[in-house]
Symmetry: C2
Subunit: 384 residues, 2 copies
């Protein structure tokens, strides 16, 4: 609900990118120049819209975010850069702002070029349709979907201020960033440095702790626009916590919607030297095809978890190793524990929690993952 | 054919580890103390037999290798270490050598303990059955299989000397090492330092360039025993090249036998700054579930290849990027090329070659990979 906070309008619709006529563009604008912060993919083959948006958010001010689905505008070279520039320019012309105040996001197949004339005409139509209605946010949420099966949104109501958000993401999801786009709006009054710090903190433990298939995308972007329209300056900690809740909700929706996945698995690693080590282990566990295949089967196959811990190259005290599925210990003090296997397999039929203790350090991390399924491979194996 | 070179005997059979009564142990011995070299997994959760074998090969001399399948003796803690020691001791007693002259290899599920009394009794039986016959090598090759569907062997005949080898490996295959065991025998006369250098060179471009599923195992071991029985000291380059041919053959047999895979894909990366960079890119490409799903479908989905190149974090000149499937360019100078898609998809139905040029550097690497299939996930998803 990006139109929930004061000062924002949105629109979404079909502009001619997707062949099936479904929504393929979204526009989100602040009525006044807003504070902006953003986090982007660290993939070295980042798409032109990412490179351009990095420049456009550098001064901490923005007016609008334009997003399209059906084409990532990635792997498109100089033409792709020109197309991203033209998108920003067209939005700026329609809204009466500078191109540098526009953030550009694209998502979809890598390689194809944007049908730029259709995109530009579509921007004009969406700009004319901008509205603060709930339906406008819904249309915008639909406009950014790719293989998602449902639109994703979240909101938070603070004391005199609020946060709204939409997002997409279903595969090619791994930090940093998990493959995704998200636009978050707030009417809280934020300095750019505070907006940036709050966004990075919230993203670190949510979108950057989401691992659906180990594949990091070229286009990931999370944008936070703060209009200040509420006139309220929230406490930094309270705002960061609220932003974290919104991002957590969106990240879980993405994991739930992972391509052809059947369950969401929370992997918690504790006892590492620090949070960085813990996260590296949690990512290695969730990167493993063998571990994620066992998630699919509901198999408490802790040997594969051990293999992944070792592959991470992070120091771990294997003599102190403890592994629990849904709270049931299967390894204690580095030794296999006896447990009711059929009973545990039955409990792993749906979402579950996998906890791994690798020592007595203070380092802890949580990664949201999904299972690897035959359907995922069929879905992604079919020639396009 | 590990009994092909002069001076070696072998045996294989069922000793009581696998429930189905099939072969689960192999013993390979040199009639005289031999030169030994070995390469092991770099997984930090290396199994007890790996830790012990590292010590036993340190002096460059060995008499025998004992290998079991059906149990990796990994994740077994102090008891696993005791079991590995008992295996070495029993072989030593049977052959009249020191326990430190015995290399120990185990493969199979991680977690369960060895039925050590059955293993020890089995060692006695196999030691009594040691033979230089072809059938002995075949039994040994069968004794190390896990999910493999066929035994793997290779040989090379030099000028007055020869090499023989057996191996296993079908999944949890990624450098360093690819999950596997291999025993290589030769009657060439080699100094330990030359044996070590030749083995490392041969393994680097073969077993350590094999990526079936991105999962690195806890037990990988390649052992080279050189009896010197031929009395011939081969030229180092000739021997290393021959060893490379033997390892290449075994690595390709493993890729062919990848769990539920349908094709072998050679991924060649050229134009990187150096071979290390090229290999890192090739591994990132073959680590990608999305890329390997497209291998399965025979889909020349180069966008996913681009994504993986970027994820590798290795510098690449994307404006110079060239991607070819079976020699057909799909990206030239960083731009999409037009090609006969249905014709190319048809050509990717079987084994194929994927070439990626990332600049004009001299760095080149080749990785042998397999496709990710729904069957792999079904196979590995079933609760044990």
């Amino acid at each position: 609900m990006i139109t929930h906070p004061e000062g924002f309008v949105a629109a979404g619709g079909h502009v001619g990118i997707k062949a099936d006529g479904s929504h393929d563009m979204a526009l989100v604008a602040s009525l006044e120049p807003a504070t902006v912060a953003a986090v982007f993919t660290t993939n070295r083959a980042a798409a032109p819209p990412v490179s351009l948006s990095r420049l456009h958010v550098a001064d901490g001010r923005a007016r609008a975010v334009v997003l399209n689905s059906g084409c990532a505008n990635a792997g498109t070279g100089a033409i792709g850069q020109a197309h991203a520039l033209r998108m920003a320019g067209r939005v700026a012309a329609a809204l009466g702002c500078a191109p540098e105040e526009v953030v550009i996001c694209s998502t979809g197949p890598i390689g194809p070029r944007l049908p730029i004339e259709s995109v530009e005409a579509g921007i004009d139509r969406l700009a004319a349709a901008l509205s603060g209605a709930d339906t406008a946010s819904k249309d915008a949420a639909l406009g950014i979907l790719t293989t998602d099966t449902f639109p994703k949104s979240s909101r938070f109501d603070g004391d005199g201020w609020s946060i709204g958000a939409i997002a997409k993401g279903a595969a090619m999801c791994r930090p940093d960033m998990a493959t995704m786009l998200a636009v978050i709006t707030t009417d809280a009054a934020l300095e750019p440095s505070d907006a940036d710090a709050a966004l990075r903190a919230a993203v670190d433990t949510t979108f950057n702790s989401l691992n659906i298939d180990g594949c990091q995308s070229t286009n990931d972007t999370v944008v936070l626009l703060a209009s200040g329209a509420s006139g309220v300056v929230p406490e930094f900690e309270a705002f960061t916590a609220a932003l974290g809740e919104v991002c957590e909700s969106l990240a879980r929706q993405m994991a739930r919607d992972g391509e052809e996945t059947t369950k969401v698995v929370d992997v918690v690693v504790e006892g590492a030297a620090d949070a960085t080590d813990a996260k590296a282990i949690a990512l290695a566990i969730t990167d493993s095809d063998l571990v994620r295949s066992s998630f699919y089967g509901g198999d408490p196959n802790w040997g594969r978890v051990l293999q992944a811990i070792g592959q991470s190259q992070v120091p771990a005290d294997l003599d102190a190793l403890e592994i629990r599925y849904e709270g049931v210990p299967v390894v204690v003090a580095g030794e296999p524990a006896s447990f009711d296997r059929p009973g545990l397999v039955a409990r792993l039929a749906g979402d579950f929690l996998l906890e791994v203790v690798v020592g007595d350090g203070a380092g802890r991390a949580r990664v949201i993952a999904a299972d690897l399924t035959p359907g995922y491979v069929e879905f992604n194996g079919a020639p396009s």
